[in-house]
């Protein structure tokens, strides 16, 4: 008989619309991170390092890259005879078909999958956080408290607490109340979106709430558990944890990796982060190059200058090019003489020669103020940028652009060119 003590359900179906053109064709968990990884590598590696060998990955939005990346789970040792990784997309049933309408609804639609493994506990994870965490320790805590639900929380500065879901606990860490983005927070313990449920408790709640539209953990399941008197505990986590949901937090989290001894250290011997490594060769650094404070992925060839940047695998930075404070994802080419400051360049982008990106002054976005609100130049995947153009700050470019798309050879700060996928 199949029996797993705890299985993980990893929510990876969201678009991550606040990442703008980076997630137009790819789900947020599949976005590159830290030179050679993708965001989902962090929770997946945490799972296997914690001894959780059965993971259901719930996909919905643009799953192709995610499917290709995860495959049968070989890079994470999640190719198992029993369990391993399973990609769970919404499916049609005799009664009809539904998309996953909310986080809890996605789990509800996969109750049968969970039942197959007959687990005592179910770990709910999001596919968009950067952290290293031992879920086994959290499970021990859950058991020691005889909890029904354990929610991982981290202390945040009081003045920032109103941006988070805040847990109010008693002296035994039992959660007595919680509030979503409170104006006047009563505590500084922010929910990290990581839950351990005793499966019978979660199953019962999901069945009970199955007709609630857009059924969500934070909005419906957790309040219901509180109202029915379940034992909810807060598990305090004090390590590095970063939500990379916005362009500036995504950029910052990447930049933190290049500190001399980064708070989030990828070089530690244990708790390795695994990923699908399909580019193997070493990187080549030429005679005329200059590199300072950067991390660089495999197979990349650098002939120019790279300062304070995170460069992915298989990238080419041509002679005389200068990349500063930027993220360049895999297999992109930066043309000779091009200067790039504070940009996020997605995968397989071709930037022509003698361009200047990230110049001028910040201007409010004319395209989408909610998403684009910093100095960053954001370039979507497979974009082509012609030779010699200038691009201002707080801009977005996506698609095969030509010289004619740049009036007077310039994209002004705050503007955007989106030619692909519309």
């Amino acid at each position: 008989m199949i029996k797993k003590e705890m299985i993980a359900m990893l929510l990876a179906g969201g678009q991550g619309s606040r990442l703008g053109v980076l997630t137009q064709k790819v789900a947020k968990p599949a976005v590159s991170f830290g030179g050679k990884y993708r965001i989902i590598d962090f929770p997946l590696s945490n799972c296997i390092n914690s001894g959780v060998d059965t993971v259901g990955v719930l996909t919905q939005y643009q799953p192709l890259r995610l499917n290709a990346h995860i495959g049968i789970g070989i890079p994470w040792d999640l190719d198992r005879n029993v369990g391993g990784v399973a990609l769970l997309a919404p499916y049609e049933s005799a009664k009809g078909s539904d998309w996953y309408s909310g986080t809890a609804n996605a789990i509800f639609q996969n109750i049968e999958f969970i039942d197959t493994y007959n687990p005592d506990y179910v770990l709910i994870l999001s596919g968009d956080h950067i952290y290293k965490m031992d879920y086994e320790v959290m499970l021990d805590y859950h058991k020691a408290n005889k909890a029904d639900v354990t929610i991982a929380v981290m202390p945040v500065p009081m003045e920032e607490a109103s941006r988070f879901g805040i847990m109010i606990t008693d002296e035994t860490n039992r959660i007595v109340d919680f509030e979503e983005k409170p104006a006047h927070p009563r505590s500084n313990l922010a929910s990290m979106g990581i839950y351990i449920f005793s499966w019978p408790v979660l199953r019962e709640a999901l069945m009970k709430l199955k007709d609630v539209p857009n059924c969500d953990f934070g909005m419906h399941v957790i309040p219901d558990c509180r109202d029915t008197g379940k034992r909810l505990f807060a598990y305090e986590f004090n390590g590095y944890w970063k939500d990379v949901g916005t362009l500036s937090s995504y950029w910052e989290a990447n930049m933190e990796l290049i500190d001399i001894i980064p708070e989030f250290n990828l070089y530690e011997e244990y708790w390795r982060i695994f990923t699908k490594s399909d580019i193997i060769p070493p990187q080549y650094i030429s005679e005329k190059s200059h590199i300072e404070r950067s991390i660089i992925g495999e197979g990349t060839e650098i002939y120019g200058t790279v300062v304070n940047s995170v460069i992915g695998s298989g990238v080419t930075i041509e002679e005389g090019a200068e990349v500063r404070d930027s993220i360049i994802m895999r297999e992109s080419v930066i043309g000779a003489g091009t200067k790039i400051t504070k940009a996020i360049v997605a995968e397989d982008v071709k930037i022509g020669k003698n361009c200047e990106l990230g110049i001028g002054e910040f201007k409010e976005s004319t395209y989408n103020k909610k998403v684009y609100n910093s100095d960053l130049v954001t370039i979507g995947e497979h974009t082509v940028i012609p030779d010699g153009v200038k691009v201002g700050k707080n801009t977005a470019i996506w698609g095969n652009t030509e010289a004619a798309d740049y009036p007077d050879g310039m994209l002004q700060s705050g503007d955007a060119i989106v030619k692909a996928g519309v």
Partner: protein
């Protein structure tokens, strides 16, 4: 593919000096990320050979670690797969492999049980890309009994450490001198052979009956007039790494853009065991020129015209020039290394200097205590 592959990876060479103390030649690290045997294995898989036998003997532990899974080269298949044959004591024999032909003889059941009509035999110490199908086509076209992959020596190249062959106008080998004192010809063998499987079994059995053990001396040389042995001329890059000088040069060759593109960026790819190391990191003080740097490296000093293998740590104010630093080496601050090959897992103290000569590179082996940070 109509052939089964054999990789001969059991050898040792005095010419490798201390570098072979702890590993087989086929396990020598190459070009930052690879091992020598990856080239033969990748050529096999890229030639769609599905069944490969690897013969190991000398320091086989080093290779077994690398070959712990066949999935990296896509050999983990239901039909075919990778077989590793290390000498074992059996009811019939308690001998080591006394030669390449003996290695095949001791595992003849493997060859007998195959159904593929041909065998491709390759050495594990060559760095090259070759589609063995092309050799096989040539072999069939020439109605050859054995085809030997050969090359024309470049001007000034010393070929006396190879098998030197003379050919007639049809490409048939008329003379074969193994490691001659003086080379009579400028065509030499790359140690890659195609032969019909049944013929190979016959030759190996006859060899064994006569107490002969070496494939080159006892088959190629002895049968050169009796059997139709042809030379297939290989173009493109090929290098044998079985001496310190050629090992050093082969690694340095990868600093050449064309050679790098040929192996790293052109189809088909070379595969190797993946180590899951983070990207290389350049801290303030790093100054890298014309070098290869592999994943997991952390650089704080100057590196020039060098090849850094995986997980090398270069301390502050170090100067590393014209050197090869093998896997997992820690180099303390203010150290100078020039014209050296630094053995893997070395720990080099701060403030030390190692200088070799351009024509006589120094092999550095330092097993100091390492304090992990």
């Amino acid at each position: 593919m109509r052939a089964v592959g054999i990789v001969l990876a059991g050898g040792n060479s005095k010419r490798m000096k201390e570098l072979s103390n702890k590993r087989a030649i086929a396990a020598m690290p190459i070009a930052g990320s690879y091992r020598s045997i990856d080239f033969a294995l990748s050529n096999m898989t890229n030639s769609r050979i599905q069944k490969v036998a690897v013969f190991t003997q000398y320091n086989s532990r080093s290779l077994n670690e690398h070959l712990s899974s066949s999935k990296w080269w896509d050999f983990g298949r239901k039909q075919g797969g990778m077989y590793v044959f290390t000498p074992t004591i059996t009811a019939q024999s308690n001998d080591w492999y006394r030669g390449t032909a003996d290695a095949l003889y001791q595992n003849l059941t493997f060859l007998k049980n195959c159904h593929e009509p041909y065998v491709v035999i390759a050495a594990g110490d060559g760095v090259y890309k070759l589609d063995y199908n092309k050799v096989l086509e040539y072999h069939i076209e020439k109605k050859a009994d054995i085809t030997v992959v050969c090359r024309d020596a470049a001007a000034g190249e010393d070929v006396t450490r190879f098998g030197v062959v003379e050919l007639n106008e049809d490409g048939r080998i008329t003379q074969f001198d193994e490691k001659p004192m003086v080379a009579e010809s400028n065509v030499y063998s790359c140690g890659i052979y195609v032969v019909r499987r049944r013929l190979l079994i016959e030759l190996i059995e006859r060899c064994a009956a006569e107490d002969r053990y070496d494939f080159v001396r006892d088959i190629l040389v002895r049968y050169k007039s009796l059997k139709r042995i042809y030379a297939y001329k290989m173009e493109g890059y090929w290098s044998n790494i079985a001496s310190v000088e050629s090992y050093y040069k082969t690694n340095m060759d990868f600093l050449d853009k064309d050679i790098r593109n040929f192996f790293f960026r052109e189809h088909p790819e070379i595969y190797t065991k993946v180590d899951d190391l983070p990207p290389a990191k350049y801290n303030p003080g790093a100054n890298v020129k014309n070098s290869l740097v592999s994943s997991g490296c952390i650089i704080n000093g100057a590196v020039e015209n060098s090849v850094l293998f995986k997980k090398v740590y270069v301390g502050n104010n170090c100067v590393i020039k014209n050197s090869i630093i093998l896997n997992d080496v820690y180099i303390g601050d203010n150290t100078v290394i020039e014209n050296c090959i630094v053995e893997s897992r070395d720990t080099i103290r701060a403030n030390t200097t190692y200088i070799g000569k351009p024509d006589d590179v120094k092999i550095v082996i330092e097993k100091n205590e390492r304090y992990t940070i």
